[in-house]
């Protein structure tokens, strides 16, 4: 096992302190179990999500750059891990924009100076996703070696959403041939959960959109998109949709409920964070993984499968 990513800065983001709390708990628990250290970025701020960009992209860049600046200046690590796709995307984006667009650097410098903190320069910090973290630090073999409770018999559809893969140009490490992550057909989560014994179903909508940006602003659209994700997963034979983003996860949960209450369309597939599934395989208790915090309650199913 390599020392890579043994200790990384941890940027949980706002959602992991709210609806994504189960993701937060399970990520930390899995890290601990695997002997990986997470050091939370001190006094971080919101990355700006999608919404600030719509008001002004450079403010969003500033918000994300401030966090990277803290990591660069105050933490003795060169990698920051963000489990949320939105945060991950934004940190990657500002890295890209600062390197490529003079205007971004100019605005970030200007605002940082006014705010009285160090500015961020491209290349100081590497941003990774929770999937990169476990995949590169532990790998499939590492997982297989540590399995206490194989996920055998559990049929899982892996859902990556939009911000993990798009647009291509902010993820220069992806699409680099065998082994690297793919923007077209991402597989890191598939690899890890397969190593944990899960039966991965062939799910064509891995990177389709859940309409998370419009969960409230245009709920009907979100419900339609989510329902398509859920029904397709069921057609593909999945019991579980594994997620790796709090916004996607809560979007799937919320619109599963909404499809049922508003349109009377019921679906049975359950959503679990991939860290929750990995944690189960590693023998961590359901409670420590925050299974009780999910709206779509998978505990009955997991008991049936002998995983709880």
């Amino acid at each position: 096992m390599s020392e890579k990513y043994k200790t990384v800065a941890y940027y949980p983001g706002c959602a992991l302190e709210g609806t994504g709390h189960g993701y937060n708990r399970s990520t930390k628990a899995v890290g601990k179990k695997l002997g990986l250290n997470l050091v939370e970025v001190p006094n971080w701020n919101c990355c700006g999500a999608m919404e600030v960009k719509n008001i002004d992209p450079e403010i969003q860049n500033y918000l994300s750059a401030r966090n990277l600046g803290i990591v660069a200046e105050k933490m003795n690590v060169d990698t920051v891990m963000a489990p949320c796709n939105g945060c991950y995307h934004n940190l990657k984006k500002v890295e890209h924009d600062i390197a490529k667009k003079p205007k971004t650097q100019e605005v970030v410098d200007r605002l940082s100076q006014k705010a009285g903190h160090a500015t961020y320069q491209a290349g100081q910090v590497e941003t990774i996703h929770a999937l990169d973290w476990i995949k590169d630090a532990i790998g499939e073999d590492g997982i297989r070696a540590r399995i206490k409770n194989s996920l055998k018999g559990l049929k899982v559809a892996n859902y990556y959403g939009c911000m993990y893969t798009r647009p291509r140009n902010i993820f220069p490490e992806k699409d680099q041939g065998p082994g690297s992550e793919s923007t077209y057909k991402p597989h890191y989560m598939d690899d890890l959960l397969a190593a944990a014994g899960a039966e991965i179903v062939d799910y064509p909508l891995k990177t389709a959109c859940c309409g998370g940006a419009h969960t409230l602003a245009d709920s009907d659209t979100s419900t339609k998109l989510v329902l398509n994700l859920l029904q397709t997963a069921e057609v593909c034979g999945a019991d579980i949709i594994a997620t790796e983003c709090p916004t996607c996860h809560s979007g799937l949960e919320m619109h599963q409920v909404r499809a049922e209450t508003e349109h009377g369309i019921k679906t049975n597939v359950k959503m679990l964070y991939f860290t929750q599934l990995l944690g189960l395989a590693l023998g961590i208790s359901g409670r420590k993984l925050g299974l009780q915090e999910n709206v779509s309650d998978a505990r009955g199913l997991l008991k049936e499968k002998g995983l709880l």
Binding site: P204, L205, A208, K224, L227, N228, Q231, T232, E234, V235, I265
Partner: protein, 258 residues
């Protein structure tokens, strides 16, 4: 949606339904037959060579000024053999064409979109399409005229009742129509029922052409009443002509007697 949800029953494979219209689906076989009739029409190969999608036909099309109608679209539908699209265009779009043939004069590929529209109109008639019947209904008066006389238009057809939008000045001199007609210095135009005096034999010759070229069959498909009227009129005219011929023979005989 990217993949159809399982709750949506797959449409019957032999039936093509427009997902957004409430119209009854059309049999695939019927669609193929329609396209077959279009593409085997003797005009078809003259009128369609390919398409650069350049838009010059639509650019110059008078109908495109007002209707969401595009000769380029018609050509594309045919060239790509879009059977549903062709059928759809035959419901409405092909009737928007003004048949001016500017498109044909402009096409860099030497196509004639207007000619293709004519082919589609003929096929719409062959298939007894409702759209064709609807279009033909207000046309029936002139149709009856041309089929039974050989003239498309007659002076007495242009009345304020039928053409209020042509205003009060259809004629600027107040006089009975028959007098005005006789004041035209061409003897052949002293007529009311036809644009010019048409020889009885001429009308009958034309009727033979209608019969033998399949035009009467077209009419029967489209409008049975009109068909019956035309047949009745022409039967009568034929009888009149036969009678006249006999009279001539008699006269000839008389002449011989002299």
């Amino acid at each position: 949606m990217t993949t159809s949800a399982p709750s949506n029953a797959k449409a019957n494979a032999t039936v093509i339904a427009d997902p957004v219209s409430a119209d009854a689906p059309v049999d695939r076989e019927e669609l193929e037959q329609i396209f077959d009739d279009i593409s085997s029409h003797p005009r078809y190969d003259h009128e369609l060579n390919g398409c650069l999608n350049c838009g010059i036909c639509t650019a110059t099309c008078p109908s495109a000024h007002y209707y969401d109608y595009s000769p380029r679209e018609i050509v594309q539908l045919l060239w790509t053999e879009n059977l549903e699209g062709i059928h759809d265009a035959m419901q409405e779009k092909i009737w928007a064409c003004a048949q001016c043939y500017t498109c044909a004069a402009r096409c860099p590929f030497g196509n004639s979109p207007g000619g293709l529209v004519m082919v589609m109109r003929e096929v719409a008639i062959k298939h007894g399409m409702e759209s064709a019947k609807e279009v033909l209904r207000p046309f029936s008066r002139v149709m009856l005229k041309v089929m039974s006389t050989g003239n498309q238009l007659a002076p007495n057809m242009i009345t304020p009742d039928h053409f209020p939008d042509w205003g009060p000045n259809i004629s600027k001199v107040e006089a009975p129509l028959n007098i005005l007609r006789k004041a035209i210095p061409m003897p052949t135009l002293h007529t009311l029922e036809t644009a010019w005096a048409v020889n009885l034999k001429t009308s009958i010759e034309l009727y033979t052409i209608w019969e033998d070229s399949g035009v009467l069959d077209q009419l029967e498909t489209m409008d049975e009443n009109l068909f019956d009227v035309v047949v009745d009129i022409m039967d009568e005219k034929r009888e009149d002509y036969e009678d006249w011929l006999e009279e001539q023979d008699d006269d000839d005989d008389d002449d011989d007697d002299d």
